[in-house]
């Protein structure tokens, strides 16, 4: 079959286009197909990753979402000036303050990426000694509960004394979860 465009060379490309339900079929030779740009796949190798990510962080409003995307994209980080919309595009924070600046917007993102929204791992020792303290108390309280359940009262008393001692050390905020 000859090329439907130039009518000279043999057609090597069979193209079926479906536009709005209407179907057209054309047969083209190599060079005509290339000229018409029909061999190029517009999205090849360029999966719009950032759009995927924007969807994930809620910049593309889901059906039924009431806050318009433009409004939510308007939040700007007070530290580095990155906007929430930019964050959606690059998928990276600009500085540590972004985390506070974008605040609640990030909850659903973290929920989807991670199992939980509260860090339970290592704590920097020097900077956050109060945090370590707090966590140690929480852990001791958990153990205290356990030993009371198991009726190990000697152990429970020992734990209670240790908790008391530690709590005296934490002057502020130590009793918030008591």
């Amino acid at each position: 079959m000859l090329c439907g465009e130039c009518g000279k060379k043999n057609a090597s490309v069979h193209l079926t286009k479906i536009v709005n339900g209407g179907k057209t079929e054309i047969y083209l030779c190599d060079s005509c197909a290339r000229e018409k740009g029909e061999l190029e796949f517009p999205f090849e190798g360029k999966f719009p990753l950032h759009q995927f990510f924007s969807g994930l962080i809620g910049l593309v409003p889901a059906a039924g979402s009431d806050a318009p995307a433009s409004q939510r994209g308007g939040v700007q980080c007070s530290g580095c000036g990155l906007t929430y919309a930019q964050f959606g595009q690059i998928g990276r924070f600009g500085c540590d303050r972004c985390y506070d600046s974008f605040g609640e917007n990030l909850h659903s993102l973290f929920r989807r990426l991670h199992s939980n929204q509260k860090h339970v791992g290592k704590i920097p020792a020097r900077a956050c000694s109060h945090l370590m303290h707090k966590r140690e108390i929480e852990e001791l309280k958990r153990k205290l509960q356990e030993s009371v359940m198991k009726e190990e009262f000697e152990e429970a008393a020992r734990l209670r004394d240790r908790i008391r001692k530690l709590e005296e050390g934490v002057s502020s905020g130590g009793d918030s979860d008591g």
Binding site: D96, K118, H119, G121, K122
Partner: protein, 391 residues
């Protein structure tokens, strides 16, 4: 036209190894590597970049299946813009901080060397990427991007990568605990002098939301040829994904894992402690090892001669080929490795096979040859290096 482009398989293989093409273009230092090489030689000879690493030793627990274990921690300095948006001045601040830590804790850092990315040629940087010591991102450089590398290449700290600091420990075999202990030790060293970006609720703050929390990414490199041969691999891949771990081919994308090498890593960094993350990865890796061993057993019972034949043929081609492409080399090396691990092929060490994983990569070949090579020239040089290493 588009089709032709896709027919060069090596390009896809090399994509993750430093985005070789893009580096070559914008690097004025490329000539340095040329002057520095030009002679052919083995690993022993003195070079600016060492080609062997501890992780290639082929030792450690389960080393017939688990090639290496890695732990890396993402850490940032509070109040300084993350590297990708930072000014030169801010990047310098971070770089200087690292220098100060090294200077004041000399007992810990005596065997470390600080390597500025700007001081390396593009080929040298690619070699570091291929040895898994730096990320392609760090290799792309930028001012004040550097690598702090311990002599044995087990511990490395990337400076001004995606995060201000990335502390990494890479060991042979299934060795996640030791990797974690080393990493956290150097994390403590830094923390003595650096005010980390840390959030009471969210933990260590990282540039990428997928790293927030522990900032910990733990991974193992596993060789699973028997699971691939017995067609169980897809079932295994989806099972691993379902328990919250990521598994992917080490080279290439998707299930097209060149050389039957896979990397398994944790995805969750927030809401799980380091212990839980490591334990989870450890036990899943244990499962993988068990399944692979069962599959190997099955192969031995059902087709011992077939496996031996396959390994022997692979060895024959590797020893005699003059032109060999990257994916073919990876495939054959995997066959040989399986033969060696199952005791069907003698006189080849796990170490040389591990070294070849790196030596056959484009950056290393060009580094050894001392000049940029075309894909065809690399195929020639690859054959030379394989024969040298295996004989």
């Amino acid at each position: 036209m588009a089709k032709e482009e896709r027919q060069v398989p090596e390009d896809s293989l090399e994509k993750d190894a430093a985005g070789a093409e893009s580096i070559k273009e914008d690097n004025p230092l490329a000539e340095e590597a040329v002057e520095d090489g030009g002679r052919e030689s083995g690993l022993e000879e003195q070079r600016r970049v060492n080609l062997a690493s501890r992780w290639m030793e082929g030792s450690g627990p389960e080393s017939d299946i688990v090639i290496s274990s890695r732990v890396r921690l993402a850490r940032n300095v509070g109040g300084i813009t993350f590297p990708s948006l930072a000014s030169d001045e801010q990047r310098k601040k971070v770089y200087t901080m690292m220098n100060e830590v090294v200077g004041s804790q000399q007992d810990k850092f005596s065997s470390f060397e600080l390597i500025d990315m700007e001081s390396l040629s593009s080929i040298e940087r690619q070699v570091y990427v291929e040895k898994h010591l730096i990320s392609p991102l760090l290799a792309r450089g930028g001012r004040f991007s550097a690598l702090l590398l311990r002599e044995d290449e087990v511990v490395s700290i990337m400076i001004n990568e995606e995060d201000h600091f990335r502390i990494q420990c890479l060991l042979p075999g299934l060795n996640l605990d030791k990797s974690w202990q080393e990493s956290t030790k150097f994390d403590d060293c830094l923390e003595k002098q650096v005010d980390y970006a840390f959030h009471e609720q969210l933990g260590y703050l990282a540039a990428c939301p997928t790293n927030v929390g522990t900032g910990l990414r733990a991974s193992v490199m596993v060789h699973l040829p028997a699971l691939v041969i017995t067609r169980q691999i897809n079932r295994i891949l989806s099972a691993v994904n379902q328990v919250g771990l990521a598994i992917r081919g080490l080279y290439g994308e998707g299930t097209e894992a060149a050389g039957n090498l896979f990397q398994v890593s944790n995805q969750v960094t927030l809401g799980q402690s380091e212990d839980e993350i490591l334990q989870n990865l450890y036990s899943i890796t244990g499962q993988l090892v068990k399944q692979e061993k069962n599959a190997r057993e099955l192969l031995l019972n059902e087709g011992r001669e077939k496996v031996a034949d396959r390994a022997g043929r692979a060895f024959g081609i590797l020893m005699n080929a003059r032109i060999i492409a990257s994916d073919e080399a990876m495939r054959l090396l995997s066959d040989v490795r399986l033969g060696v691990d199952m005791g069907l092929l003698k006189n080849v060490t796990a170490r040389s096979l591990n070294e070849l994983l790196v030596l056959t990569r484009p950056g290393c070949l060009q580094y050894l040859k001392g000049k940029p090579l075309s894909p065809y020239e690399r195929d020639l040089e690859r054959a030379v290096q394989i024969q040298k290493c295996l004989s």
